[in-house]
């Protein structure tokens, strides 16, 4: 299991398209400003591919997937 994996949201770039929420509702949840908050997730349960796909689905490129300080997506 790895705890090094995290998702960062650039809230300035985010334009609330909701693609991430639609793609992976267990990780991306709307907040009051209609921007995603990242729920704690277990990297063993959530597949890396699913995370990558959700991060890449953002039309605004507002999400980044970071593995041990290194950006792995988009």
């Amino acid at each position: 299991m790895s705890t090094r994996l995290r998702v960062v949201v650039d809230r300035d770039e985010c334009f609330s398209f909701g693609r991430c929420v639609e793609a992976l509702p267990s990780v991306f949840v709307w907040d009051d400003e209609a921007k995603p908050v990242i729920q704690p997730f277990d990297s063993d349960v959530v597949a890396l591919d699913a995370l990558r796909e959700a991060v890449e689905s953002c039309p605004r490129m507002a999400l980044s997937l970071i593995d041990d300080g290194r950006t792995v997506a988009p």
């Binding site: 334009f15 609330s16 398209f17 693609r19 639609e22 209609a34 039309p59 490129m61």
Partner: protein
Amino acid sequence: MTPSADVLAGEHRFVDHRYASPECRTLISRPGDAHATLVDEAGRLIQDHRPAHLALEGSTGGHRRRLVRFGLSSGEPPVEVEQFIDDARVPIVTTILRYSQYDLELVVCGHVDSERRRLDVVRWRLFARHGTPEPHPAFQIEFRGEDADQPVIVGDAPLVATTPTDPHMGSAVRAALDETPTEVPATGVAAFLLDGPPIEGNRLSADWADEALASERQFWEAVALQLNELLVPDRGIMQLFEASARRIAQGHRTPEGLVQSGARVAAFAQAAALLGLDDQAHAASDEIIRGAQLEGHTTGSADHVDVTVVAIAAICRHGDLAGTLSARETDTLRRWMGEMRQHHEPGPAALWALAAATIVGRSQGVPADVQATATQLAGALRDNLRTTGAAGLTDGDPEAQRALAYAIYPGEAFAPDDAVVIDLVRELDAIEEAVGGEPAVPSAEVWLYAGAPDKAIDRLYDLANHAGPTGGWPQASASAEFVRAVRNLLVFERGNELELLGGLPPTWLMSGAQIVVERTPTRFGPISLRMSVDDGNVARIELEADWSRPPERIVLRPPAATVSARIDGRAIDDNSELLVMPVARRVNVTLGLRREYATVTGHSAVKAALRDWHGYSSATPFKPDIRIYRQLPIESDPPAHSDYRAILTPFFSRQRVVEVEPRIRTVARDLVARFESVGTTEAVHDLALPIVVHSLGILLGRPQDADEWLSWGLRNNEPHGRRDSRRTDAYLARVFDEGERRRGHDAFSHIARAEIDGRPLTRLERLGVGNLLLSAGRAAAVNLICGAIWHLAGHPAARDELAADLSRVPSALEEYLRFLSPVPQMPRLAAGQAGGKVALSFLSANHDATVFNDPGRIDFDRRPNHHVAFGNGPHTCIGAHLGKLEARVLIEELLSVVPNFRPDGAPDVDWQDVAGIEVPGEFMSLPIAAER
């Protein structure tokens, strides 16, 4: 949502004043005015600027010259200056001096009032940019004159003498006058009385200034600046052309001295002739003759080009074009022909003489004896000059280069492949390369003559980009050279041949493009050339001629994109570089054009390109035929893009869109109720366009303007089918101005006050942002709504299914967005060697079978549905939430109130083909009816 890719500019061939000299002065005097006032680049006035040794008739003020500076009483220098004129035809100059905390706006015009007073009028406004720091400085006028007289300055409040803040200025008056700090924003008027009776009470009102500005505007709008219409599909070029025509109408006398610029007055005479302003042309040649006599030069001047010879050259060319010479001109020619023989020393004078002699030798209307003498003289001069070679001919002297350029064209004293011609273009090219396109000598025609049209086009754009934003060059004569170059690129005389479209920029072939050269004088008689490019791939060209001496041959240089040609309906198989047209009074040519841009297709490639702004740049004006500025942020790249986008983000956030939904729903209900009561409707103009325009008005905080926006039709930048942003620009100027004064809460006020890194947006940036707000999403959102209505009306089962469960409308709309791709493609400039213009096809990406199963089928439940209808990456549509909301609300209301709508006749729509599937594109009309 934005420009379609069929309109793509060359990378560098657009006008953005990139080489503008800091010394671009604008003449604000009327034609024939004895007082010349220039507005300089810092908004200073230079009054009656003219060389003191020249007495010109009609001058009453002697030779005084006065410099007037406007500023703040604090003496603080401006941090930045912005200057522009609203309408190139009207010399009313706006200068905005930006200080650390204030903006001072000066609107300046020359004015002649009803009592024949001649005034320079300044309407000023002072704004505090951040809060209201105190005490405010006052508006201050400082001046320095070469005469002893104090200027007569009249304001809307008393003027008090004060100490100049600039030690170089002799005197100063403070306009805002009271001892207490000025209120900000403050406005006022100052007028300089140059001529005429004193002003009663020595006081003017703000209303008086507004009237003065309005009457000057009216005056200039009524002046015929060109009798022979010329139109090209590049607004930057057009604007400069109009400014140049205005400058020529203002007269050749000022602001330059005559002697130094005889060559330039000659250029004025020619340009006036080309514009159809024969009176001005004659006046200019008269002026040169008079100037020459005044100065007493006729020959062999050592210090400067001999004006006489230049005058001859100008007169000859005028005769060449007009086909006749006046008695005075013929007389002058005969008298001076002998003197020209003396110009045997290499140098400018001999070159001008050569140009003149060659032109006289071939011109009509010249008595046979004069013609014979001229031909003989030209031969002698040429032989003499040839011994030196081109480098020796000019010796790097710009005046000599200018003379040689003139001898080459329009003189045609050397064959196009003559070493003299080649040497000169090489010499000029080296200078141009070295100094970034500095057109010391305009050489577009020389390049065209030498058979290098690409170079000629580059030189035209270089010349254009040396002009300042008010449409002028440091040398007024450049206006004349510009007029000449534009015309010659389209209609060119070469010996006994007429060459059409010889220097046509390929970027002028966009669909909808129009080129008109109406009754331009040529040595063969006046001709008219009209070309229009349709929305498909066809260019229609019409030549109408009134031959006085028909050319031996008419050739047309077809654009590189030409794939087929017809002359008077007859197909031409010949693939040669030139089309030879019959010499008739009327000829029609039809060209088939190839429109192939590299297109990026497929979901992953399009998405990757959209995210790669280094490889696929947006930073270029993609529609130069429509507007002189870039639409922002869409025609920019990060990081500038982010700054522009940040200005707009607050208006398009999801929360804001949610807030306005009830008001948008009210509009939708009204529209649908009207449909219900009548039973039939035309969905484009009576449902889609109104909901889109009203929604935008609500969101941007300008609901009161929605009706005005509606009156613009489907495309606000194409009023009455003419591709032109000026109506939108005028609207924007109005609302930005209101925004600055009233500090409203609408989007335009917000843009007017927006800052990037502590600086306000420039006028063109504001127009760019404002124009995008008004045009983006307009046609695209209409097409989305119409596409959805079209599909539902034709598929009752799908319609009923959706009506039964309105919660499915959002996912149905996502599918319509994918299927329709309301913006089918977006243009980009690709980097690298294989670079250039490319189209990114959203339509192909959204119909990519590797991503979307059965893409031709409309499936309301498609999930995931990662279409790129709103683009992707930095430029992702900022109006996506609004677009979806207005479509959803209208479709929901329609399905609730008139659930049984059906087609009522065929729609008028442009179909697009994607992998064999017909997808509707732009809807012009979509009649539907409620089922009875």
